[in-house]
C-alpha cells in the first residue's frame, strides 16, 4: 500500500528540493531590504555631490569661517554649527537633570501602575510634531521670555556675558528651552529602562547596609545604570542637533555668533529650512547642502555612540544575571 506512492515521488536533484516559491520569496524580500541600503547610499552620495560646488570653492575653510554673505558668495559654517551646538547643549543642561530626576521617580518611587501610565504620557510628548512645539513656543514661550524670563535673568545673572544684551524673546535661550522640552521623552524613557534593569540584589545590598532610599538610588543604582543614562543623553543630543521646525521658529535667524544666550542666532537645520528655496546659482545651494552634510555626519557619530552605549547596558545586564 505504501509503496504505491514511491512511483509518484518527484525525484529532483538535491540542490533544488526546496519549493520554487521559497527561492522567489527570498529574493523578493532581499530586494526590498536592499532598497534601504540603496537609499542610504544615495543619500550620502547626493549630499556629497550636491555640496561639490561649495567644497571646491571654499575647501576646509568652510568649517571655520563665520561669514555668511550669499551675495558676495562667502559662506562659512561656523555660526550655524555654533548655534546648533549651543542650543543643543543648553537643551541638555535643562532636560538632563529634570529628565533623569523624573526617570528616578518613575523607576524607584512610583508604584508600577502609575509609573507605566506616566511613562505613557511622557511618550506621548514624543509624538507631538515639531511644528506644534514651534507654534506653542512662538505664541507662549517667546512673549513670556521677552517680558519676564529674560529681564529676570539679566537682573540676576547679568554680570555674566551669557545674559547680556537686549531681550528679544527669540534667541538661543528660547530655542534651548523648547528643545529641552522636546528631548524629555528620550531621556526619561531610556533612563527609566536602564534604571529598572538594575538587578534587585544591588539595591538590596545597599539597603541592607543601612542606606536610605536616596543614597541607594544615587550611589548604587544610578552608577550601575550610567551607561544607559549616557546613551539616553546622546540619543537626546542627536535629536536636538537635527531639530528643525521648532528651532527655526524661535531662534531669531541671525547668522552670527554671540556670547549671550539672549541673542538671536541660527542653526544648521534652521538656515537650510529658511533659505533653501531662495538659494540661487550654484554655490549658494551647494553651501546649504554642505551644511546638511556636516549635520548628517554629526548626527551619525552621536547616534552611533548612543547605540553603542545602550547596547552595552543590555548586554551587561544579561551578563551579570
Amino acid at each position: 500500500m505504501a509503496s504505491s506512492n514511491a512511483a509518484v515521488l518527484p525525484v529532483t536533484r538535491a540542490k533544488s528540493t526546496h519549493p520554487v516559491g521559497d527561492i522567489v520569496a527570498r529574493w523578493v524580500v532581499l530586494a526590498f531590504a536592499a532598497t534601504i541600503v540603496l537609499i542610504t547610499a544615495v543619500l550620502v552620495y547626493e549630499l556629497w555631490i550636491g555640496s561639490a560646488a561649495a567644497r571646491q570653492r571654499m575647501g576646509w575653510s568652510f568649517l571655520f569661517s563665520s561669514q555668511w554673505d550669499p551675495v558676495a558668495l562667502k559662506f562659512g559654517a561656523l555660526p550655524f554649527v555654533y548655534g546648533t551646538v549651543v542650543t543643543s547643549i543648553l537643551a541638555l543642561v535643562i532636560s538632563v537633570p529634570l529628565g533623569v530626576g523624573a526617570a528616578i521617580f518613575l523607576s524607584e518611587l512610583a508604584p508600577a501602575g502609575i509609573s507605566s501610565a506616566l511613562t505613557f504620557l511622557v511618550e506621548l510628548l514624543a509624538a507631538i510634531p515639531s511644528v506644534i512645539f514651534g507654534l506653542l513656543a512662538i505664541f507662549t514661550l517667546v512673549p513670556l521670555m521677552r517680558s519676564y524670563g529674560e529681564p529676570f535673568l539679566k537682573k540676576t545673572l547679568g554680570f555674566l556675558p551669557f545674559f547680556q544684551g537686549p531681550a528679544f524673546g527669540v534667541g538661543f535661550l528660547t530655542a534651548g528651552i523648547i528643545l529641552a522640552i522636546m528631548t524629555f521623552p528620550f531621556i526619561i524613557s531610556v533612563s527609566r529602562e536602564a534604571l529598572l534593569a538594575v538587578p534587585r540584589d544591588q539595591r538590596e545590598a545597599a539597603l541592607a547596609l543601612g542606606a536610605t532610599k536616596w543614597e541607594m538610588t544615587w550611589q548604587v543604582v544610578v552608577p550601575y545604570a550610567r551607561l544607559g543614562i549616557f546613551g539616553s543623553i546622546f540619543l537626546a543630543l542627536a535629536r536636538a542637533l537635527g531639530e528643525t521646525m521648532a528651532v527655526t521658529m524661535v531662534i531669531g535667524n541671525d547668522p552670527s555668533i554671540h556670547a549671550s544666550l539672549l541673542a538671536p542666532g541660527y542653526s544648521i537645520a534652521a538656515v537650510i529650512a529658511n533659505e533653501f528655496t531662495e538659494a540661487t546659482g550654484d554655490v549658494y545651494p551647494a553651501a546649504l547642502v554642505e551644511l546638511g552634510l556636516v549635520l548628517f555626519c554629526l548626527t551619525i557619530v552621536i547616534n552611533g555612540l548612543a547605540r553603542l552605549m545602550i547596547l552595552a547596558t543590555t548586554s551587561k545586564g544579561s551578563k551579570r544575571a
Binding site: 500500500m1 505504501a2 509503496s3 514511491a6 518527484p10 525525484v11 529532483t12 538535491a14 526546496h18 519549493p19
Partner: protein, 276 residues
Amino acid sequence: MAPKSVRSQPALDREPPAPLVPEPVSTVKTKLKASHLNFYYGSFQALHDISLEMHTNHITALIGPSGCGKSTFLRTLNRINETIRHSRVEGTVLLDDVDVRTVDITNLRRRVGMVFQRPNPFPKSISENVAYGLKINGLVSRGELRDRVEQSLRRAALWDEVKDKLNESAYALSGGQQQRLCIARALAVDPEVLLLDEPCSALDPIATAKIEELLFGLKDQCTMVIVTHNMQQAARVADYTGFFLMGKLIEFDNTDTIFKNPSKKETEDYITGRFG
C-alpha cells in the same frame, strides 16, 4: 501538486480496520531506514553513526536519558533539523528506499508528519488548525474540507469534545485536548509516517492514556516513531524499541526482548533504573 491520498474517504463510510494477522518477520517491510547517521550542532556531535530500520505499520519507540539524542534523531527524519543554524547531517535517511534529501522537502514533510513535545496549535480556530495542512498542500476541494476535518478529529478521538465549538480558538482547549488537536492536524494530511516527540510529557495520566489508545488504533494506517521518557509507555504501545545513550544507538529490538532480555549492559542498567 501533491498526489491525493488513496485513503481519502467520506468520514462516516470508513470501514473498521481488518484484524491484524501476525506477520512472519521476513515480510515486515521497512518504511524508514537510517544508515550511518551523524549529526552535528556546530562542532558538537549529537548523533554517532546511527543505523536503524523502522517498520511499516508498526510503532517504534526510542528511549534513553535526557540529552541522549533521540529527539535529534527524530527530527532528522523529516529534515526539520535544517531550520537550526550551523547544523550538519551525514549519512542517509531512506523513505521507501528513496533518499529524503533528493525529495521535495515540503512533500517529504507532508508524508512524514510530526507531533511536538508541547502542543503548538496555531492562533486560529479549531477547524482552521486541522484544515491548515490540507489547505496549504491543496489536497482537497472546499466541499471535502469539512468532512476531512471531522474525519481527522474523529481519528484523534477529539470530535465529540469539540464538535460544537469548531470555530472557537484552539487556545480555549485544555493541554491534553490541544495535543490531540495537534495530532488531528497532523493526521489530516494523511501522513504515511507519524513522528511523535514525547507527545505526552506535558500531559496528565488520563490524557496520556487517551493518546496512547489513539496511537494504538492508528497503527494499521500509519507507521509511527515515538520518542519517550516513559519506559512504561514504550512497553505499552511499541512493537520495537531502540535505546539511545549519549548520541549512540546502544540496542534495538522487539520491545519484549528489550525489556525482558536486553543484550547490552547499558540497556539493562537503564531499564532497571540504575541510572537515568
